[in-house]
C-alpha cells in the first residue's frame, strides 16, 4: 500500500458499544437458548409437576389438589410396577451392551485400515436416520409372517421347519428385540464420544506404554481404558438418561405389549395421559424417576469432572 493510501485509513474511533461489552454481548448471545429452554422445557416440566399433585384429566377445567394421591395410585398399579422393572432392564442391559460395543468399535476405528471411511459412515447411519423410520424398518424385520431374520436363519439351516419365533409377540423375545433396536440406534453416539475420548490421549502415552513393554491387554486395561473412563462415563450418562426417558422404539414396535412385557415408564405415561386422558396419573408416572435421573446425572458429572484426561 502506498503512503497516501495509508494516510487515508482512519482509526475506528467509535465509542465502546454493546458488542464491546462482555456482559451485554453475553446476555444477547445466550438469550435465544434460554428463551427456548424456558418455553419448551421448563414450562411443560413445571406444569407436569403441578399436574402430578392434582386431579386434572383431559376433560376437567377445575382441577383440585390431591397431594401424593397420584403417586400412591401408581405404586399400587401392577402395570406401573411392571413398567418400572422393564425400564430398569431396558436401560441397564442396553447401555451395558452399548458401552462395551462402543469401546470396541472406537478402538477399532482408531487404527488405520482400508475403507475406514465406509465403516465410519455405516456406524453413524443409525444415528442420522430418523428414528421413527428406522423403527418402522425394524418392524418389518421383526414381522411375524415375513420376518427376514427367520427367513435367513431357516435358509442357512439354523432354524428347523418348526421354529418360527414371533419376535415382537413373545414377552422375552419382545424385550430382547426392543433392547436390540435401542442398542442399534444409540451405539453411534456412544462410539463417537468414546472415539473423542480415545483421541484425546496423547500419542506419547501410547508410545511410552509400548516401549515400557505393555502387551495389547495391559495397554488396553491399564492405560487406555482408565484414561478414557471419564469420557465413557459421559457416554453412559447420556445413554441412561436417554434410555429412561425414551419411548419411540417401544411405541413403534410393540406399544408396550405383549401383556405390558415391554412397557416402560415413558410409554406408560404417554398411554395413560394422552391415550387414556388421565393427565395427572401420567404426570406422576413420568416424574417418578426424576429423582433417580437427577442423582444419576449429578453423580456421573462429578466423577467425570474429578477424573482427568491428562
Amino acid at each position: 500500500m502506498t503512503a497516501p493510501a495509508l494516510a487515508r485509513l482512519r482509526w475506528n474511533e467509535r465509542a465502546a458499544g454493546v458488542t464491546d461489552s462482555t456482559r451485554w454481548l453475553g446476555t444477547i448471545m445466550l438469550a435465544p437458548a434460554v428463551v427456548y429452554i424456558a418455553l419448551v422445557v421448563a414450562v411443560p416440566f413445571l406444569m407436569a409437576i403441578g399436574y402430578s399433585f392434582s386431579s386434572v384429566t383431559i376433560g376437567t377445567s377445575t382441577p383440585r389438589f390431591v397431594g401424593l394421591e397420584n403417586f400412591k395410585d401408581a405404586l399400587e398399579d401392577p402395570a406401573f410396577l411392571k413398567s418400572l422393572g422393564n425400564t430398569a432392564i431396558f436401560s441397564l442391559v442396553s447401555q451395558t451392551l452399548v458401552i462395551v460395543l462402543a469401546s470396541i468399535l472406537a478402538i477399532a476405528l482408531q487404527r488405520k485400515f482400508r475403507g475406514k471411511w465406509l465403516v465410519r459412515l455405516l456406524i453413524l447411519l443409525p444415528w442420522v436416520a430418523p428414528i421413527s423410520l428406522g423403527s418402522i424398518g425394524w418392524l418389518w424385520i421383526f414381522d411375524p409372517v415375513y420376518s427376514v431374520i427367520n427367513w435367513t436363519l431357516r435358509h442357512v439351516g439354523i432354524f428347523g421347519p418348526d421354529t418360527w419365533p414371533i419376535w415382537l409377540g413373545q414377552p422375552n423375545l419382545a424385550m430382547a428385540s426392543i433392547i436390540g433396536v435401542h442398542v442399534w440406534r444409540t451405539l453411534p453416539l456412544a462410539t463417537i464420544i468414546s472415539l473423542g475420548g480415545l483421541s484425546s490421549i496423547p500419542q506419547d502415552i501410547h508410545d511410552a506404554a509400548e516401549v515400557d513393554g505393555a502387551g495389547f491387554f495391559r495397554h488396553l486395561f491399564v492405560i487406555t481404558l482408565p484414561l478414557v473412563l471419564p469420557i465413557l462415563l459421559v457416554a453412559v450418562l447420556f445413554g441412561l438418561v436417554f434410555s429412561i426417558t425414551d419411548m419411540i422404539v417401544v411405541y413403534v414396535l410393540t406399544r408396550g405389549g405383549p401383556f405390558d412385557s415391554t412397557q416402560v415408564l415413558a410409554s406408560l405415561a404417554f398411554f395413560k395421559s394422552i391415550d387414556g386422558g388421565d393427565l395427572s396419573g401420567g404426570a406422576a408416572v413420568a416424574l417418578f424417576l426424576l429423582p433417580v435421573l437427577a442423582v444419576c446425572a449429578v453423580l456421573l458429572l462429578r466423577i467425570a469432572r474429578r477424573a482427568e484426561v491428562v
Partner: protein, 352 residues
C-alpha cells in the same frame, strides 16, 4: 549395555518427504551420543526408528549386534524418555515406575524394592504416592528417568528430555543426567536442538540436517573443525562468522577475532590482521558483543565479535580498529557446496 548401529537407514513419509536419508551410525557401548539439529532435521524420527516406534523404509538397525528391524519396541531392551515425559496421569509415581517391571512380568515381591531403589537414585522417594499432576516439571522429569532405568535397559533413548524445564533447572538437570549416565554406563542416544546441551553432554555429537548426518565427532572437534557451513552456523552462540573473500567463504568464531592486546603471542602460530569497523556494542555483563563489518576484506558481510569481560580495550561504535585472528582459527568453505576446503592465505590487505 550394547552397541547401536544403523545402516543406510531411510524413512520416507507418505507424500514423499524423506525424514531420514541414509544414516550410518555406530554408537559404542556405554557411549553418550547426541543427535543435534534444528526441528525437522529427522533426529526424532531417527530415534523413534531405533526405538521401534516407526518402521524404516529401508536400512537396518542393530542393537547389540543383532538386527532388530522386525522387533516391537518391547523386545528391543530399550527405554525411552519423552519430551512430554509421557507419565501415565492416572497412576501414582510408584505405579508409573513399576509399570515396565509389571509389563515385563517381574516377580511381584521384587517390584517394590526395585521401585524404591530407582526412586532413591533420583531422590524422589517422598513423591511415590503422588500423581503426576501434583509434581513440578523437574520432578516429572526425574520420575520419567526413574521409570526408564528401573528395568536396566541396554540402551537409553532420550527425546529432548530437558526442553520442558526452565532455564535455571536445565543446567542442574543436565549435570545430573550426565552423572547418572556415567555411573550406569548405559549406551545413550540423546536428541536435542540445543547446542549447549549437545556440547555439554555428548561423548560425540552427530549434527543432522535434511535427514542426513552432516558431521559426527567429539564436541570440541565439531566446534573447532566444522565439516561444512551448516555445522559452522549451527554450533556456537553467536555462530561462526562467514565472510566472502575472493570466491571462498572464510569462517572464524566470534571469540577468535580480538584486539591485538588480547591476542596471545605465545607461539600459538601466526596471526592475521583484520580491520574491524564497529557499528554497535552490546554490554552483556559477562562480556561484550560487537556488531560490524570487515571493510577491507568483506565490506558486505555482517560479523559479530564476542569479547570476554577480561578484555578491557576501549571499543566504541562508529570507529574502526585493527583486530587480529590466529591463522589456525580461519576455516575455509566452498560457497557453492558449503563444504570445507583446504586453508589458503588471505589476500594481502587492500588499501582502504
Amino acid at each position: 549395555m550394547a552397541t547401536v548401529e544403523t545402516r543406510a537407514l531411510r524413512k520416507e513419509f507418505t507424500g514423499h518427504t524423506t525424514a531420514v536419508d541414509g544414516v550410518d551410525l555406530v554408537i559404542n557401548e556405554g557411549e553418550f551420543l547426541v543427535l543435534l539439529g534444528p526441528s525437522g532435521c529427522g533426529k526424532t524420527t531417527l530415534l523413534r526408528m531405533i526405538a521401534g516406534l516407526e518402521t524404516q523404509t529401508s536400512g537396518d538397525i542393530l542393537i547389540g549386534g543383532r538386527v532388530v528391524n522386525e522387533l516391537p519396541p518391547r523386545a528391543r531392551k530399550i527405554a525411552m524418555v519423552f519430551q512430554s515425559y509421557a507419565l501415565y496421569p492416572h497412576l501414582s509415581v510408584a505405579s508409573n515406575i513399576a509399570f515396565p517391571l509389571k509389563a515385563q512380568g517381574a516377580p511381584r515381591n521384587s517390584i517394590a524394592g526395585e521401585v524404591e531403589r530407582a526412586a532413591k537414585m533420583f531422590g524422589i522417594e517422598r513423591l511415590l504416592q503422588r500423581k503426576p499432576r501434583q509434581l513440578s516439571g523437574g520432578e516429572r522429569q526425574r520420575v520419567a528417568l526413574a521409570r526408564a532405568m528401573v528395568r536396566h535397559p541396554d540402551v537409553f533413548l532420550l527425546d529432548e528430555p530437558l526442553s520442558n524445564l526452565d532455564a535455571k533447572l536445565r543446567n542442574l538437570a543436565r549435570d545430573e543426567l550426565k552423572q547418572f549416565q556415567r555411573r550406569l554406563g548405559t549406551t545413550t542416544i540423546y536428541v536435542t536442538h540445543d547446542q549447549v546441551e549437545a556440547m555439554g553432554l555428548g561423548d560425540r555429537i552427530a549434527v543432522m540436517s535434511g535427514g542426513k548426518v552432516r558431521q559426527l565427532g567429539p564436541p570440541q572437534d565439531v566446534y573447532d573443525e566444522p565439516a561444512d557451513t551448516f555445522v559452522a552456523g549451527f554450533l556456537g552462540s553467536p555462530p561462526m562468522n562467514l565472510v566472502h573473500v575472493d570466491g571462498v567463504l572464510v569462517g572464524f568464531r566470534p571469540e577468535q577475532l580480538l584486539p591485538p592486546s588480547a591476542v596471545s603471542g605465545d607461539g600459538s602460530g601466526p596471526t592475521v590482521p583484520m580491520r574491524f569497523a564497529v557499528e554497535r556494542v552490546e554490554h552483556l555483563g559477562a562480556g561484550r558483543l560487537l556488531y560490524g563489518t570487515l571493510p577491507d576484506l568483506a565490506p558486505n558481510d555482517k560479523i559479530i565479535v564476542s569479547l570476554a569481560y577480561t578484555v578491557h580495550s576501549t571499543i566504541e561504535a562508529g570507529h574502526a580498529y585493527d583486530f587480529r585472528v590466529h591463522q589456525s582459527n580461519l576455516k575455509f568453505f566452498d560457497p557453492e557446496s558449503g563444504l570445507r576446503v583446504p586453508a589458503r592465505p588471505l589476500p594481502a590487505r587492500r588499501s582502504a
